[in-house]
């Protein structure tokens, strides 16, 4: 039932891995060329080692981009409606199988991104003669839950909007980037009258970026920190909200997909 989506995601993951491999190779060449004379020779990360979560940030960014790119798959299926929709399975089940396949691909994208980032980091340590040790910080679990939640929420919102359209997934993805970043930016504008500001804050409730924006604080490069949010909410609550909105958007997406007529 989800074989088509499996093939699609396999191709996407292969592409991602290829691009990351090329980038990693370039970075490693650059590191080896530029830093081969540097000899730091010290340990990195202090007595406890480097918090792995500190490296997750970049991987979460790559995952977010990947998640939004694959957000138009249900609308792509509407270009060939006779295919998926005349198979002997309930249509909502087909839609859910697509969403789950995509979610698995998003998680895999995170794992692959981390693998390349660690590879580059270890290569750097090796070139400059630094011994690195690692530990999993307290915030790692929260950071990953929140970060992947934001990626999934974004993905699911794109699906919810585009699954009832015939092949407009690409435009929806592009517009989502513009819409979410502008909306987040507007929330920082203090000049607006109160009602308008409230409206912008309300709209931001459905903005994945609003739950995880680093515009106001930056973490130390080697210790993990939870990005701030324009909502003053407990980070675990934020994580729960983005996942719940993501799941709700997934349900809406499958309903819209099922309802579409030709």
């Amino acid at each position: 039932m989800n074989y088509i989506e499996f093939l699609r995601m396999r191709r996407n993951i292969t592409w991602l891995a290829g691009v990351l491999a090329a980038l990693a190779l370039l970075s490693m060449i650059s590191i080896n060329v530029n830093a081969y004379k540097v000899h730091v020779g010290a340990d990195i990360g202090g007595p406890t080692g480097v918090d792995v979560a500190a490296l997750f940030g970049l991987a979460l960014g790559i995952t977010l981009i990947f998640a939004t790119i694959v957000g138009g798959t249900l609308s792509r299926e509407n270009e060939t409606p006779e295919m998926a929709r005349t198979k002997p399975f309930p249509r909502e089940q087909i839609a859910f199988s697509f969403l789950l396949t995509d979610l698995a691909a998003i998680l895999l994208a995170f794992v692959i991104s981390n693998a390349f980032i660690f590879l580059i980091f270890l290569d750097f340590c090796w070139v400059v003669h630094v011994r690195a040790s690692f530990h999993v910080g307290e915030e790692a679990g929260l950071l990953v839950t929140l970060g992947l939640g934001v990626a999934f929420m974004w993905y699911a919102l794109v699906q919810a909007v585009s699954s009832g359209l015939r092949g407009r997934g690409g435009i929806t993805i592009g517009l989502s980037w513009a819409y979410f970043t502008i909306l987040l930016g507007l929330s920082h504008v203090t000049l607006f009258p109160v009602p308008l500001h409230d409206l912008i804050m309300a709209l931001n409730l459905l903005n994945p970026l609003a739950y995880m924006n680093s515009l106001t604080t930056h973490g130390d490069t080697l210790s993990a920190s939870i990005p701030n949010s324009i909502f003053t909410l407990d980070p675990w609550l934020r994580a729960a909200i983005v996942w719940l909105i993501g799941i709700a958007a997934g349900v809406v997406a499958s309903y819209n997909w099922k309802r579409l007529e030709f």
Partner: protein, 302 residues
Amino acid sequence: MEHSIAIRDLTKRYGNFTAVSGLTLEVEPGSICGLLGPNGAGKSTTFKCLLGLARPTSGSIAIEGKPLTPATFQDLAYVPEKSALYENLTLAEHLEYYRRCYARYDAARASELIDMFKLDRKKKVGKFSKGQRTAVSLILAFSLRPRIFVLDEPASGLDPIFQRLVLDLMIEAAAGGASVLFSSHQIGQVERAADRVAILKNGKLVVDGSVDELKTTEKIVEAIFATAAPDIDGLAADPRIRRIERSGRIIRAYVSDGSEAIAKRFEEFSPRDVSIMDLGLEDIFLTAVDGRDATIPHGDLP
């Protein structure tokens, strides 16, 4: 006997436009029904409603006596009008998709059909010609060994040899007890393969019956007069007359039934000659879609 397909009083409107209006059509097991009609007559809309791709505005559809459910598709294969295939996937990947979806997928049959249509499994479907894509859709449909085939212009883009092959596939399936509902612009295909023909015009059924029965009843009655043809107004009102053509001394009546009786009525005007001429399906079709907007009573099935 339970109908393989039973469409009852189907109406489908898109906004103000009525695509199908009060259509009732049944297909029996082992029967091949050809659906004819000019472009925009409602053939594809009928198919979409039949498959649940569009929701009927009113009316009902039953497949083997039951409303459409996901399980129905184990026994129903559909070939859409424009091939709906995954451009980026190879033929082999399409086959694998079908193998995973259908309980009765027959890999040996698929191989046989691929050889018949001379296709390359490893090639991406996007690289195939229009006719080859039609062939892919047909291969997928006929490899499922379903009990019901719904084929929207199944021979479009195919060369005459493959067109004949498609008809043979349909005939073979029907001989094995499957039922086929197909649309076509090529009346000759319907004339050969179908035992039943339904003609749509502006969303309405204007002819429905057995092909042989229609050829038995649909005739041209031609009367030739020694001088200018007389007024036959009383006769023209006969509901069995679809259309009357007059030119000089000749009157030609296209009749849906009772050609002998109508020929007798013509005799009353003392013509020089009255003859009854047979009509091929093409003439029946053209008369039906040009002529008056009425449904001919069902011809009995053989």
